[in-house]
Symmetry: C2
Subunit: 699 residues, 2 copies
């Protein structure tokens, strides 16, 4: 069947528009729900204000950087020899704006859905699930629709205006824009959420002995704000970017490639798979509902029904599309390998982090040996848990490339992310349920309501763990596809043939690998220290308020919530800059040195080969660290909850105290450093792809 | 100047023999020293017996594997198509034997020097230093001499009998033998020492509240045995192997190489540098002495005087040798870059781990925030500390390769390790001083004696940290040189011309990188869990003895030391096997699949390119992890000691309790998992080099 790029991009754009309408409709539905008592609304309003304040500070800080990068891209394109198109700057702006909007609207609805979920949960568990999940759906659908809309329209435009390599580079500008927002949103949001969480717990739970989310704790509102800015806005920008970049990588490889990839059909196939996934995701959200009086198992079954149905339907759609476009079975194999790989990584993540399986149970058991032993065991668990994801990524890579070459890797990433609408909905649902519980506690609602919100929250923790595994796996495939696109884009610049021996032993490749492997460690160190610093400030402020505000612990006086919100905000904004700037600066610097060094002595030490080494080295190093951190963090969290549920002496026992230490270490692991690494590898690769024409210029 | 291979190898062998004589003389001197009171001798004798029992169990277990591998090498060489020489098996046996002997004799003297150091310290600090350092000198000299002797004789023999690639592979057999012992000695010894240490501390110090090394603690003897089997025998085998492998890699690259490397002079230069370093090291040991009544500063200055003088003298010798052999300044630059790089890595290791600098002081300060914060900060410190070593390794690699190509990397490794005799002496000195303190405590000697042994011990901790950085740095350079030798040896098998693009995007290279990066994580997880398991058994045994042996805590009855020794031994031997076998099995399996897959479908998924990816991926991943673990562990240890010395409330304060948790995590980091990674990367590379003729066969 013949389908032109114009037809396909317009079709994808129309489907994306339908997604936006659907998201708007869900938003309206959520806002129509009962927002509960005045007290509940005032709590929710404090969270809303805190979240808005943070996001507006964050966006203003990022806006400055966006302007600088846009100006730099325009300047570069003004130099004819650079080979860069001015449209790259436009695409960058579009990507940054779309990512920012997705984060903003997702958070907008999340901070309004929380109190409505609490109120709905006071009626029944199913009602609570529906409201929380609907707000997640708004976020999920919005992310997917904005990404698809942006890529479709830009692709349509660029194929008319630019030649192949420039088009690929310009389209990568869209992903670059999204990633630039994502790195700051993830890092900034991650620092905020964990600083507030750790700070609130250390003084509130440990020192003052008051329960979590107690209204007397001055950091409670900041803690609830953190859930939204980190887990909703941060996660949304992150996955916006993986999703967009996977499609961009596939289109780029098809545009630049050879063999099966060098056809119009191969260019539009990833767009159509994404569009099909979007529509299927919308329909599948209706499957996520359960009976009144459902238990935890049934809730999980409801969510799984939605995700698995969507996966199967997308699988069928992939087969149908490939047949329709006459692309043959090889693209089917490549795309489905990613789809299946994503589900498998999710399964193994759950295995290693859920209290329902032996690894986390054994970790909880080891808590009897003291805090040191829990930390050692948790780190070992995290390290061991890298085995399955690596084997899966290796298998997907080999299957996909043997089917359709490197284009296959990009297709695998597209396949893995094709159900993102619904998987992200289950992710974004978590913080809403968590907040709903906080509001129930702070507003002093009945025990039965809190029990229901706890059930919803616990479900959110399970889906969050799976979602994290999925985010890492898809980030690795996407980064690999982007790297492939970058190297392919360099084309002739790298084209001279030589011996395998000389290439592998090129010291620039080797030093690049070392430098690349180093970056995730430095990046993690910076973000972990940032959380520690920010938490320390919160701890001091909470202690000060307990000391200076009379009658606070007795419940006679209100704490000053806003101070804690302001401290978290300031600290997060200030400390998110260094890691983000490093991630952009390193590939840029190497690219500049490559250009400046051409034909002189610098060339012997730094070249495009160095950058390739950096991309590959950071990819493997970050993948290991990210999986280790996410799974160790998840397992510590659930081991602690397992003990709190009554095992090994329950709350307050020595084992519980040890488990809390593990959880404290795990917090920045799983919610700040680990997830930020996903973006680091994509950002390094996409900056390289954007700069590919510059690097290739004059070669 | 003309010097034949025969002349040079015989010269090197003679110098090695002089080294052996010197070691024997130092041994005799140590044994002549006063061994103290009967009580001290009986304690020392218990440590001797425990150490011997462990080593004989360990060697018996390893012997079985050595026989299996020797048989496999012989079998392989019996197949004419394999291209392997039967002499590889002989070299393997020689290497394994030499490494085993170095470990055995080093430990033999260490467990006899401990009590003599205690007795000497009861006279003066300088006397104690001299005895402990002399025993370290025995070990250091022995390691260097045995390695140089073995390589010289085998090289002389192989150049007469075999053609180039076979000679390189057969010579690598010597390194392979050494590495095979080293991996088990490091892992087994590392598990033993930390299990006994953690077990003794957890129950003794924390639960029963008795001091370290208290004779009432049933795990005290096991703890002292552990220092010897882990830090003396394990470290000795490890560095034997780095030292031997660096020389082998340089000779191999010169034998196989082109350009400057393809000359007789280039082949014998590394041997002569090593021989010069040996002699210089012997002389420099005489500089390590101090005045009666010297303080800590002066002790450190004495040791530094020895090491720095040796480094400068070796530098001069390198210049003289290169001039004599008419090799030009390029080999001087390459060799000296390694020598300087090693010193710099040692400096930065000290900066990050010594309580004299801000990183460790800040870590100690953070202990006020609780155990979780200390762990986070320590991990972040470890991650951040990877920056300097990576930059140094990159700089050395670029300088060395731009001077003389990949041969330069091997020369840099030889340069870095050229002063091994004396640096290893300062390393091996540490456990002797530590043991001496334990004996002083257990024998109830005067406070002043204990103070002197504490000063000696504290000095040992500083030199141990520097030594660890040095061991990691040299392991990375050696592994890189071995990888280069392997790829060069494959030669024609990889000779087909290709493009950078095709190579870097070869899915086998990429999946190899992932697999390689995975191995250090799995390896670390296994070793950390092994320490945890073994420590748990010790904890239970110590608790049992406190419970069941009446009057034990009152000092009326003796504990059953031997049970703890037996438990540590059993557990360490059992658990050292899996990690060691994995390290040998993975490259072997890939080599076999490469051979079997030639010409059929397997080739698309696994090939020599996969193995190259594994070597490069594991190299960078293990280097990051090893540096992080060693430095985080060292910093936690010293932060705890800094607090114990009176900072932040001193012993027993909340900050101290938190710091103890950090130290517990750091123990397996710095003494088991981290150092084992050094050997992992060398073992992967040397197995590949040994199997190079097989992989190249029929290509």
């Amino acid at each position: 069947m013949e389908l032109s790029i114009q037809d396909a991009t317009i079709l994808a754009a129309v489907i994306a528009a339908i997604g936006l309408v659907f998201a708007a409709w869900q938003r309206t539905w959520v806002l129509q729900q009962d927002a509960g008592s005045e007290k509940m609304q005032s709590i929710s309003s404090a969270v809303q204000q805190g979240a808005s304040a943070f996001l507006s500070r964050e966006y203003r800080a990022i806006a400055l950087l966006v302007v600088v990068v846009t100006a730099a891209l325009l300047l570069l394109s003004a130099i004819p020899e650079s080979g860069m198109s001015a449209w790259t700057a436009l695409a960058f702006l579009c990507g940054a704006t779309a990512s920012g909007l997705a984060g903003y609207f997702g958070m907008y609805i999340a901070v309004r859905a929380n109190v409505r979920t609490t109120q709905a949960a006071s009626r029944s568990l199913n009602q609570g699930l529906r409201v929380a999940f609907a707000s997640g759906t708004v976020m999920g659908t919005l992310v997917v629709s904005l990404a698809l809309l942006g890529i479709s329209l830009l692709f349509l435009f660029f194929t008319k205006e630019l030649e192949a390599m420039q088009a690929a580079s310009a389209l990568a500008g869209f992903g670059f824009g999204g990633t630039s927002i994502a790195i700051f949103a993830r890092v900034g949001g991650g620092i905020y959420t964990k600083a507030a969480d750790v700070g609130a717990d250390l003084v509130g739970k440990t020192e003052a002995g008051i329960p979590e989310d107690d209204p007397r704790n001055p950091a409670t509102i900041a803690d609830n704000v953190g859930d939204n800015v980190g887990d909703v806005a941060g996660m949304g920008s992150d996955l916006f970017e993986s999703y967009a970049s996977s499609i961009i990588a596939a289109i780029s490889l098809a545009t630049l490639g050879s063999g099966i990839a060098a056809s119009t059909e191969a260019q539009i196939f990833p767009l159509l798979v994404a569009a099909a996934g979007l529509i299927i995701g919308l329909v599948a959200t209706f499957l996520v509902r359960t009976e009144e009086g459902a238990d935890q198992e049934q809730l999980l079954a409801a969510i799984r029904r939605g995700i698995y149905s969507a996966s199967i339907a997308v699988g069928i759609a992939v087969i149908a599309l490939a047949w329709w476009l006459e692309l043959g079975e090889s693209v089917i194999i490549a795309t489905l390998s990613g789809l299946v790989g994503g589900v498998l990584i999710g399964y193994f993540t759950e295995y290693f982090t859920s209290a329902g399986y032996s690894p986390t149970q054994n970790l909880a058991d080891s808590a009897g040996g003291g805090a040191g032993i829990v930390v050692i065991r948790g780190l070992a668990l995290g390290m061991m848990s890298t085995l399955a994801p690596v084997i899966i990524v290796i298998a997907v890579t080999l299957i996909a490339t043997s089917a359709t070459g490197l284009y296959g890797v990009a297709l695998a990433a597209v396949g893995m992310l094709s159900t993102l609408g619904i998987t992200l909905a289950t992710d974004a649902y978590g913080p809403v349920a968590d907040n709903a519980g906080g509001i129930a506690e702070m507003a002093g609602l009945a025990e039965s309501v809190r029990e229901r919100t706890d059930a919803l929250d616990s479900l959110g923790n399970t889906t969050a763990a799976t979602g994290k595994g999925f985010a890492i796996g898809s980030a690795a495939m996407t980064a690999l596809a982007l790297t492939a696109a970058f190297i392919t884009a360099l084309g002739a610049a790298l084209g001279e043939s030589t011996t395998l021996q000389a290439l592998v032993l090129d010291p620039r490749l080797i030093t690049g690998l070392f430098l690349g492997a180093l970056l995730p460690f430095i990046f993690s160190a910076l973000t972990m220290v940032a959380v520690g610093n920010a938490a320390q400030q919160i701890v001091e402020e909470v202690r000060r308020q307990f000391r200076e505000i009379s009658g606070l612990l007795a419940g006679e006086n209100q704490p000053d919530y806003e101070r804690c919100v302001a401290i978290s905000t300031d600290s997060a904004i200030r400390q998110m800059l260094a890691p983000g700037v490093i991630a952009v600066a390193v590939p840029t610097l190497i690219a500049v040195l490559t250009v400046l060094g051409r034909g002189n002595a610098i060339e012997d030490y730094v070249s495009a080969t160095t950058l390739i080494g950096v991309l590959l080295g950071s990819l493997v190093s970050a993948f290991m660290l990210a999986v280790m951190m996410a799974n160790a963090g998840g397992a510590w969290d659930n081991a602690k909850k397992f003990i709190e549920a009554g095992a090994l002496g329950g709350k307050g026992s020595a084992a519980h105290k040890s488990a809390v230490v593990g959880d404290t270490v795990g917090d920045p692991f799983k919610d700040t450093s680990g997830p930020s690494l996903n973006i680091l590898i994509k950002l390094l690769a996409i900056v390289s792809l954007v700069l590919a024409p510059l690097i290739a210029s004059g070669a």
